[in-house]
């Protein structure tokens, strides 16, 4: 274990590189979660649709993602898709992470939608709304609110998972830490430093998510 003074000096001297990397990590996380929400919503709707085949498609997607390590998914998507068309690194990494997050988010949305009282849909339909309109205007807004806490949780997981983007050449936090660590023959110090950055980001995210939850709680 590094001495505290060494740790602290290194923390200070490396801050600029880490600040930059932090921005990459945040961008990766935000973009992959946003796309993950879109993907997740799509597959959640497939799953609750009354068409069985669509439900199966959704099941297979969720099973593949939950059944294999993320690092495998990242490799396969990044290099597999590369042979078809070349996305810029950032987008390739973001989409791979989004594909992963999407499966978990799909489960979150599915649960949230199914937890909304059936009477809400019926009330909408009885007022002349189409199923789509009732879903869009009545069910989803309420489901979103209910999904927020687990979504916030997934956000944090997504943040940490973005560390695996290091393997596909993104200069995010973890990548910078291992590079500096191996360049300086001092892995432990840099890993402890990067842990501090993650802890701060997670704390920040937690506060933000709580804030949004509170704001959306007006109707309770």
């Amino acid at each position: 274990m590094p001495s505290f003074s060494h740790f602290f000096e290194t923390l200070l001297s490396s801050r600029e590189l880490f600040f930059e990397a932090m921005q990459v990590t945040l961008k990766l996380t935000v973009v992959s979660i946003l796309f993950g929400i879109i993907i997740g919503l799509f597959f959640a709707l497939l799953k609750i649709s009354n068409v069985k085949v669509l439900g199966y498609i959704s099941d297979v997607y969720v099973y593949l993602v939950r059944g294999t390590p993320l690092i495998v998914q990242i490799f396969v998507l990044y290099f597999g898709l590369s042979s078809l068309f070349l996305l810029p690194d950032f987008w390739a990494a973001s989409l791979a992470l989004a594909f992963h997050n999407g499966a978990y988010i799909a489960e979150i949305f599915r649960g949230a939608i199914q937890s909304i009282d059936k009477g809400q849909m019926e009330a909408g339909r009885s007022l002349g709304m189409t199923a789509g309109m009732a879903m869009r205007r009545i069910i989803l807004p309420q489901a979103f609110r209910r999904a927020l806490p687990p979504l916030g949780n997934q956000f944090i997981i997504g943040l940490k998972d973005s560390s695996l983007a290091a393997f596909i050449s993104m200069n995010e936090l973890f990548s910078v830490a291992t590079t500096l660590g191996s360049n300086n023959f001092d892995e432990m110090t840099y890993l402890l430093i990067v842990a501090v950055y993650y802890l701060i980001l997670v704390a920040l995210l937690t506060v933000i998510v709580r804030g949004i939850e509170k704001k959306l709680a007006v109707s309770d």
Partner: protein, 248 residues
């Protein structure tokens, strides 16, 4: 009653859930301004009948003619027909993420494409009518059960339906809150609204209903004026039901 317009005609309506035959050859005609009370034991099919009339359940066979229009999910735009039929549920089903006023203007604005200002104006009038003008900007969670049900009535009325269906509108309410909802419904009846009401409120049925329908095991067993049906039912099963059930 004969010169009035026919609002609903149900002919040989049948509905099953799997093996369970819930509605058996239901025939019923409801004319303009009629107030019909539907009574019967739990499971007799009252809710299912109401839900078929509003297409929340899909009938198996038979016909439902609403305002002289045959309705069939396959050939008709059921959402159009539905707009003529308002429904009030036992558990209110207010949109919990919207304020009282937003609940009321939602369907006019997004289904009927009424301009916002007009929808709001009409919505406020309706809230006034049900005695809740001061609650326009409040969320449903802040309302009592009776207030919620009155908002639900205003919300249904906002679509200017010709027929209103009520499925046990007061049975989820604390006893002291039943009165306010019944009062609102009475007023509606007085204004000439065509209404079908599933209820156990004997007082309401006596005072307001033009006729009462007793259902048993998926069939309409007896139909009659409230005083007749309550005091001298002709059918054996009706007698039994009235004896064992505590109509209030």
């Amino acid at each position: 009653m004969m010169e009035k317009r026919e609002m609903i005609r149900v002919d040989k309506l049948n509905k099953s859930f799997g093996d369970l035959h819930v509605l058996k050859d239901i025939d019923m005609t409801v004319q303009e301004s009629d107030v019909v009370c539907l009574i019967g034991a739990s499971g007799s099919g009252k809710s299912t009948l109401l839900r078929c009339l509003n297409f929340l359940e899909v009938k198996d066979s038979g016909s439902i003619i609403i305002e002289d229009e045959e309705t069939d999910l396959k050939t008709h735009d059921v959402n159009k027909v539905r707009q003529k039929v308002g429904m009030v549920f036992q558990h209110f089903n207010l949109f919990s993420h919207k304020t009282v006023l937003e609940n009321v203007i939602e369907a006019p604005m997004y289904v009927k494409k009424v301009p916002k200002a007009e929808a709001i104006e009409n919505g406020k009038q309706l809230l006034n009518k049900v005695g809740l003008s001061d609650k326009a900007d409040v969320y449903p969670s802040k309302l009592s059960g009776g207030q919620k049900q009155r908002v639900a009535i205003a919300r249904a009325l906002a679509m200017k339906p010709d027929i209103m269906l009520f499925d046990e509108p007061t049975s989820a309410l604390d006893p002291e809150l039943v009165g306010e909802v019944l009062a609102t419904m009475k007023e509606l009846a007085k204004e000439g609204m065509t209404m079908i009401v599933v209820t156990h409120e004997m007082g309401f049925a006596r005072e307001v209903a033009d006729w009462v329908v007793y259902m048993h095991d998926g069939r309409i067993v007896e139909v009659g004026h409230p005083t007749d049906l309550f005091e001298s039912p002709t059918e054996e099963r009706t007698k039994e039901f009235l004896k064992t059930t505590q109509l209030k």
